[in-house]
Symmetry: none
Subunit: 221 residues, 2 copies
Amino acid sequence: MFKRILIAEDHETQNISLQKTLTELGTEKPEYVFYCDDALTWIKNAVKAGQPYDLLITDLYFEEDHNRQKIMGGAELIKAAKEVQPNLKTLVFSGESKTAVIDSLFKEMHIDGYVRKARHDGQYLKLAIAAILNHKKYLSPDLKLARKENNSHDFSDLDIAIISQLVEGTPQKNIPYYLQENNIKPSGLSSIEKRLNLMKEVLGFSKNEQLIAYCKDIGII
Amino acid sequence: MFKRILIAEDHETQNISLQKTLTELGTEKPEYVFYCDDALTWIKNAVKAGQPYDLLITDLYFEEDHNRQKIMGGAELIKAAKEVQPNLKTLVFSGESKTAVIDSLFKEMHIDGYVRKARHDGQYLKLAIAAILNHKKYLSPDLKLARKENNSHDFSDLDIAIISQLVEGTPQKNIPYYLQENNIKPSGLSSIEKRLNLMKEVLGFSKNEQLIAYCKDIGII
DNA sequence: GTGAAACTTACGGGAAACCGTAGCAGGGCT
DNA sequence: AGCCCTGCTACGGTTTCCCGTAAGTTTCAC
């Protein structure tokens, strides 16, 4: 079992249960912090002291409070940590279920495991740690399923830019100016109309209001 | 301290840390389930056995899986539980932060406390239980803040009907027919326009799209 | 270089939404 | 009753949006 594990998780209760799970697995003193900046500091100090951590377990999203932080989320933390200690194993433990986000964690951040906060997260944490001990990657099984049922329209950057502008209150006819300023192509008014029509058609909507509500529901804005 | 507490929470790790918190507070054997239907069964059995629970701690949203459930969420569970045991104290522990949702829990379901899953949720759980022991209501402080900055328009039934119709895709000009059929007055097109304008003016919006997004955020639709 | 295809943009007619005004109905008051 | 006040509705002009068509641009193959 890993001897030195660091937990970065802002929710107090989640942090506690992570500690409990790890002690059950045989890590005598799992260490834990509630802020990303603290996590990085501890990792640096551990490297300096010649006793680096074996594993970092971190959440993805940390809530802001009065303590201003340089590092705002788990992805940034992992990036910074790997600069200090490239061989550090990393396990992400978060409620995020969007495949695009998780895929990029594996591909770009080279994380070793991802467990979604969900029904059987305790079991899966144990399996994940076992896998990582054997230098394998791990992804909790509830996500492998979720990946398939995704038959909805996948929104491009342009789509999201258009919808965001609508939600900001920009009149449709002014959106081309915004897109030009931000070097998003295409930027013609007709293209915007066409894009909106496409999205509404795929999803079976007739009005922008429906589209906005849908996007709010699935969380892309 | 409460002697008999039932936890309904589908996330394994959250469930574990709730148990731990409660034992620290002096409840010897907090009982726990992972499904709402089980929770109701246990409550019924406890009443029959003459040893009813003192407190129910429940999440709001439960994820569906292969076990088909009759009761899908915490709100329904509370309603069903109070029919069996009206004096049951209830504490909701969830990640939900929309004020409209939480307000309705207090007003309509008469819950005794709400703690949001967030940074200091462990502390707040303890405070909540202490308050409920004294027959007081409790709301975790991170939400009190959110509530004050809320100088918003309070939405009437008419407002919500109009917005709902927009989200359904009904063209504005057809909404009068819908309102007449449902005996909602006023129902004139001008009144609808006036009402939409008022809402947007109060909230500083210029377009329906903004209004829809706002209503989704605060959870009234 | 030429042409075809795909994509982007421009334009114009018609529908919907927006906005101010005026007319109408009901309630309360003298 | 007569009057005022309030709120609902109806109407017309302007703006925005919707949608089909046509013209321009880029890409790629031959």
